[in-house]
């Protein structure tokens, strides 16, 4: 077995890991990043395409949380993590939520002012911009529908850089923070699975890993003074559990935004290459209404529950776009590393109140899309009626049940948590795993709750805050 030494080992290269690596490398620390997935050439696969799922998604996009109903979810598995596959939409953590976290979890130094400072720094590292020029038809439809109903809406900026022609390039971690971390002296080891952390007498001192090369595998042991686990809300608690840390809060409290979709057919063609930048925020943060990836494959899947084959639409499929209603749910799910299984088991309960919220969200989404001029709406509920008028939407309330609803999610958070209370969370207020020296978590699993918005900006802000604390401690 090969042995390596480093000062700081960062496990995972997504929003949390890349932020951690870049900030520590800038501070002059010797940083070694390991990532389970491969290095991919940025832009080598079209966003949300089958090719991208094949190369950059964990389980090729076939992940699901068990429950009634099950919830399909997506995670990145490549250098850059989920920032390589998400929409790049950028939302700072809602301040009302931050206030709640501070007061209820004892996160005394999590102030809006301090958080604003780290957010400013991150946004100087990652280009965050509004869309130049007019919104594309898919996005404009949300504005039109909300305006017609007198609802609030908002354009979200994205982590995108635009050239003079207005062509945008997503500023994922493989394009931004990771190259900068490398320039500052960090190293990144891709295709490397961390089987367990090495912990002895209450101190983490490294990890056992396996790197897959084209000509075989290499088993390694990395010794490190400090270990940051940044594998995301599913992989991080699973790694802690595999390493013997099975204390109750670890893996509990998983949060996501359960989501229902509607395929909307408009009288004219809509764009299909981007995710809309506008959202209806009238009901936020409990309910978010926006647009989804809508390549031909996604349109076909969204139509399927209504029994419509996209082939039957012919060229008219070009007039269909997929929108969603996403809620904050009542209860948290669980992540459990089961001995003998490589992938953790994920469960997520949906309460009756959640189903009711989803039904309300779907009906409100339907109202907005009809107000925007949609001719027909196909909900992601098996055999639910197609709606062509507001009067038809009433039937959706009765159609939603545990057997018929097709739920999905993309924003997974909160499976470890941070607070001043070891009984409530797996990590302290700055991501230090309770009871284990030298071990920190620094990713989405720390967020105390689903933020109700795209979590990338919040994950990066919390991660940078925690690195600042680590450095201030003179570690």
């Amino acid at each position: 077995m090969t042995g390596l030494d480093t000062e700081v080992l960062v496990i995972g290269s997504g929003a949390g890991g890349a932020t951690t690596a870049r900030a520590l490398a800038e501070a002059g620390r010797t940083v070694h990043v390991v990532e389970e997935g491969p290095w991919l050439e940025p832009g080598e696969a079209a966003p949300f395409s089958l090719a991208e799922m094949d190369r950059a998604y964990r389980h090729r996009g076939s992940s699901a949380a068990m429950g009634r109903p099950p919830i399909a979810y997506a995670e990145g598995r490549c250098v850059g993590g989920s920032t390589e596959i998400n929409s790049g939409l950028w939302a700072r953590l809602p301040r009302s939520l931050v206030d709640t976290w501070r007061t209820t979890l004892g996160l005394e130094d999590l102030t809006a002012e301090d958080l604003g400072k780290v957010e400013d720094r991150i946004e100087s590292w990652v280009a965050v911009n509004p869309l130049p020029g007019a919104a594309p038809p898919s996005s404009a439809a949300l504005v039109r529908g909300a305006d017609a109903l007198g609802w609030r809406h908002e354009e979200f900026p994205r982590a995108f850089a635009y050239d003079a022609s207005g062509r945008g390039t997503k500023q994922s971690m493989s394009r931004t923070l990771l190259p900068e971390a490398l320039r500052l002296g960090a190293t990144v080891r891709a295709d490397t699975y961390v089987s367990e952390l090495l912990i002895d007498r209450g101190r983490a001192w490294g990890a056992r890993l396996r790197t897959t090369h084209p000509d075989g595998v290499e088993d390694l042991q990395i010794r490190a003074e400090h270990v940051f686990v940044c594998g995301g809300a599913v992989q991080s608690p699973a790694l802690l559990q595999r390493s013997g840390l099975r204390r109750r809060p670890i893996g509990r409290g998983l949060r996501m935004h359960p989501t229902l979709k509607v395929a909307a057919q408009f009288p004219t063609a809509v764009d299909h290459d981007e995710v809309p930048v506008h959202r209806i925020t009238e009901f936020a943060p409990e309910l978010a209404i926006g647009g989804s990836a809508s390549r031909r494959g996604q349109v076909g899947l969204a139509l399927a529950d209504s029994g419509v084959d996209v082939h039957d639409l012919g060229a008219a499929w070009d007039r269909v776009f997929v929108y969603y209603a996403a809620i904050k749910s009542d209860r948290g799910g669980r992540v459990v590393a089961v001995p003998g299984l490589r992938a953790p088991v994920v469960t997520y309960p949906i309460s009756d109140a959640d189903l009711s919220r989803l039904a309300r969200g779907l009906v409100l989404l339907g109202e907005a899309l009809l107000a925007a001029g949609a001719e027909a709406l196909y909900p992601s509920i098996e055999d639910a009626p197609v709606a062509t008028s507001v009067a038809d939407l009433g039937a959706w309330w009765d159609a939603i049940d545990r057997r018929r609803a097709s739920l999905m999610s993309v924003h997974l958070t909160s499976s470890i948590g941070m607070s001043h209370d070891p009984a409530r969370t797996g990590a302290d207020a700055h991501g230090r795993v309770w009871g284990i020296d030298g071990l920190r978590v620094n990713d989405a699993s720390l967020l105390p709750d689903a933020p109700g918005v795209n979590p990338q900006a919040g994950v990066m802000a919390i991660a940078l805050r925690n690195v600042d604390h680590f450095l201030a401690q003179g570690r």
């Binding site: 094949d54 494959g297 299984l341």
Partner: protein, 101 residues
């Protein structure tokens, strides 16, 4: 991929283009192989059970079995055809040439 799973994919694939059919089968095979192992074990168990059922009943095609499962009140049974339908549909739409806009 088990022989029954291959038959289900073939049954659900609508295109007659042999190259696209082969690509779709390859995509579904990779997806099943890449699933979380706990979920894949569950799917395999169901596939073995349905293989037995098909051997005993000799149905003309698999559409009847899939439709029956899809309307089952048991969530695990219902999810089985949905999984294959979703993978095949997405694969087919992504891999076949899109109609001109």
């Amino acid at each position: 991929m088990l022989p029954l799973e291959r038959r289900i994919v073939s049954t659900l694939t609508t295109t007659s283009d042999p190259a696209v059919r082969a690509d779709v089968e390859g995509w579904v095979e990779r997806s099943l192989a890449g699933m979380p192992d706990g979920l894949r074990l569950g799917v395999l168990l169901e596939s073995w059970l349905f293989t037995l059922w098909v051997r005993l009943t000799h149905p003309d095609d698999l559409h009847g079995l899939l439709a029956w499962l899809e309307h089952s009140p048991v969530g695990l049974l219902q999810a089985y055809p949905r999984l294959f339908r979703s993978l095949v549909r997405f694969g087919e739409l992504e891999l076949e040439p899109a109609p001109p806009r």
